[in-house]
Symmetry: C2
Subunit: 332 residues, 2 copies
């Protein structure tokens, strides 16, 4: 089998991370760990789309301020989101005088951006990059489902789009968790057509990437402190555990999902868990990043998972392809 894992001779470091969230994320179990919170979800803007752009602007501004870096110190921005034509990124980052690469990886965008950042920094192309992504529950609801005013009901398998933006600085030098190797995802379609069960649609891509990674790296799930997918929620998480076991990989207790970590299932009624570009972005930028920095987590796999459909493609009867990009990250 061709080895698709990319290792770094000079592993890049994540020297800064920042998170911006709304009310429901602040009310959740990780609430106190986020950097910037607006309980109104509006971030002083007059449309939800502009609120999402503002979250990205705040996340990037804050991630640079934390390590006292300016525009001139950053060689590239890798950014994307879920809105049509990725306008949250396009408008949110206009203030920054930094070369810009727009990405679309659906909810896998945080991992796709970190992966491209680690490649370009790890191989000496850039010294420092910023990766940023976001989702906003209200802009996502009206674009992918119904406007909030309609008051649509959600099915139990549906997930709650996280209102949040996470940003990171990947750097050649400095202090921070190390990206030691990466495995880019492939698009995988197993025929799932239920738009209210994105976890099931994305799970096959996570399984494909995890299986390729364990086989090519000759490691087992037990070799890692934490393996986390981005936003498979309760449905997708269960599917990955079951199907990976069928392939001979016991994912064990160290397998978690950012969509399960961000809300409290008992106190908050978030159906099958959190989702959206912002979900893995803010959970990684807060809880996971902190534990990697403190040494509590030493050796983890972080998978960004994305569902690559659009409302039109589903209306036209097409099934939902998924993708999952993997990063192997080590604590300081």
């Amino acid at each position: 089998m061709k080895n698709e894992i990319i290792k770094f001779d000079n592993p890049p470091k994540i020297i800064s991370a920042s998170s911006v969230v709304g009310k429901k994320e602040h009310d959740g179990p990780l609430g106190k760990l986020f950097d910037i919170v607006d309980e109104t979800d509006a971030f002083n803007q007059d449309t939800w789309e502009k609120s999402e752009s503002e979250m990205q602007r705040l996340a990037v501004k804050h991630v640079m301020e934390k390590v006292a870096l300016k525009d001139d110190d950053i060689d590239a921005l890798f950014a994307g989101d879920l809105t049509n034509q990725c306008v949250s990124s396009n408008y949110g980052l206009l203030n920054f005088d930094i070369p810009f690469f727009g990405l679309y990886g659906a909810c896998s965008t945080a991992a796709e951006g970190l992966l491209l950042s680690s490649l370009t920094v790890g191989f000496g192309i850039f010294n420092k990059t910023v990766t940023v992504t976001s989702s906003h529950n209200c802009s996502a609801e009206r674009q992918f489902r119904y406007p909030l005013e309609y008051g649509g009901q959600h099915t139990p398998t549906s997930q709650w789009t996280v209102t949040g933006s996470g940003a990171y600085i990947v750097s050649k030098d400095g202090k921070g968790p190390i990206i030691s190797e990466v495995l880019p995802g492939k698009t995988i379609d197993r025929g799932i057509t239920d738009i209210n069960n994105m976890g099931a649609a994305m799970a096959p891509a996570a399984i494909d990437t995890l299986t390729r990674f364990f086989q090519q790296s000759k490691t087992q799930p037990q070799d890692y402190d934490l393996i986390t997918t981005g936003d498979l929620g309760y449905e997708g998480h269960r599917i990955v555990k079951e199907l990976m076991l069928g392939k001979g990989f016991d994912m064990g207790k160290q397998y978690n999902d950012c969509g399960l970590m961000i809300y409290d299932r008992k106190k908050q009624d978030m159906h099958a868990g959190g989702s959206g570009c912002g979900c893995s972005a803010v959970v990684f930028a807060s809880h996971i990043y902190n534990e990697l920095c403190s040494g509590k987590l030493k050796n983890i796999l972080f998978l960004g998972t994305g569902a690559l459909m659009s409302p039109s493609s589903v209306q036209q009867g097409q099934s939902i392809p998924g993708i999952a990009h993997l990063l192997h990250i080590k604590g300081e």
Copy 2:
């Protein structure tokens, strides 16, 4: 001034290029140069969105067949398009068992993909990548403007979205034009709000990138056989010429635009010229690539230009940001 140009010690080569187009492109002055044509624009599919996906599939299949390469020989796919959530790429490329990076750079995507391909190949991360992008007039019209059935009129400054897909293989080894250096674009917004004048909206980004390139490379427009922007059309092309002259750079006769080359202004009524992700993609993959291979063109600048708005952002009163990525390419 910080030097943002990225040079290659081992310059990557574009060893293959392919183009897929519809009727109007086939009727134009470059018609005979395109590889695959469907005069119905449908490509045997039952929706225009699926037709666009099929064009991408055909372009990638053909670009690999031209140099007898298989999925296993390609390390990464860089792909994107104009449809919401980039579904033309997501669905069109499902058949290929190749790691996938989704991009959104609007009409600059061909250049953005070539730029990321050249970075990852030029710095030894990958041996070979495929870059692909597309647009389809009918899927673009109903998404960005009105469904075709409405029969909406276009203003004279509006451009015609090209039905086309272009694909390229960037490789460490082999024969083909050389990418000698690149300059990533920045997002630039000069307050243009007219959705029917995308050339004017994108021109400031082209001017920013060209000015940075000439200043940092210490070259002049006269040092190149051809300088071409992606899809500024007659309006944007004129603006770039005038404003560059104001900055002390006479763009001269060697400055052209892919949106001016693809249609015949006298015989075909395409208003201000061609546009869309497919415009620069197919003009570069046919006419320009052929002339670089034959030695007729020896030293060119290729700029992908993109307008980074969405219908929602324009309806919400926001102006239209642009971006322009530049590649300096030399004939064999």
